[in-house]
Symmetry: C2
């Protein structure tokens, strides 16, 4: 048997085939979207994350710097801290982090420290995305650790959450200015 | 009076003159070293940080990912989270963060999110330093926010802590191997 056939054999596959993986990724990004919607309901920028191991949910996180008075309380960091507390381990080997927005510099740093194996993100972030848009941290070979990165996944849905949130904010500000005249 | 003279006038100075600033920076890095030593005493990699506003201590932080089961619990993040909780504000405008080791990607990201004005670090980190050694985040003009960065300050003292810590760890491992033969 050549190595190609060996990889195709079900018992030898370390990852599901592409179609299954796409389905899995979309399923978990949808779960992260629910977290983002919960963040928006609390007046926070709608970004959500879930941490998964062997297709099982380990933790969730939603953006909450205002509510928690914590500039580090991004969705990814909250999910990572919750998972590490649950597993009683500061390394999260064998896990995948799903997040609705391309991680910033801080979050990809945390993802690497946690030794997360795989990252899947929803929408690209042209202003501060640190794994594709502005920097390529985690895959540029400049640090000791790397990880597998997939994205964008369900980009339209993930970006729409943010567009809607900021659109409503602008509308409220505009109305407030009009009322004050 | 030309603008040069205006800047030199004591009442017009927004920052102390260089000699005073060097003294201030060394004073606060020494305080951060005490935090690093406390981390080492707990078996953590000795890195310490303090957050300062108007030459007054706001918070301290020491590296504690193992004790807290938290991969994000670097000295800088702990100091930032403590300060934001104390000030009940996720923005730490007008502050300076002192840390014994050049920040990693995660920590410079957090420093930027917190809108810290100035960063002073002790030793350079050739493996993962993200403000000078590997990346130049915060001053490379690629993100919306920048900050003033000073370092290395008391590099020998800060680096010696790490060298001593890892030297002792190697010695213990060597002894354990010798004992098991």
């Amino acid at each position: 048997m050549d190595s190609g056939n060996a990889e195709l054999h079900p018992e030898n596959r370390s990852l599901p085939p592409p179609d299954d993986m796409v389905g899995c990724d979309e399923k978990w990004i949808k779960k992260a979207i629910l977290e983002a919607m919960a963040a928006a309901a609390q007046g926070e920028v709608p970004i959500g994350a879930v941490l998964v191991k062997d297709d099982e949910l380990i933790s969730t996180g939603r953006n909450s710097p205002i509510a928690l008075n914590d500039p580090t309380a991004h969705a990814e960091i909250n999910a990572i801290r919750a998972a590490a507390a649950t597993l009683k381990n500061y390394r999260l080997v064998g896990t995948t982090l799903y997040v609705t927005l391309e991680p910033c510099v801080m979050c990809i740093g945390a993802i690497l420290h946690a030794r997360i194996d795989r990252l899947v993100y929803g929408a690209r972030d042209p202003k501060s995305g640190a794994v594709s848009s502005i920097y390529n941290i985690g895959q540029d070979g400049l640090l000791n650790h790397t990880l597998e990165i997939e994205g964008p996944v369900l980009e339209h849905e993930c970006a729409a959450l943010l567009k809607d949130f900021f659109g409503k904010k602008r509308q409220i500000r505009k109305q407030a200015r009009a009322d004050s005249i």
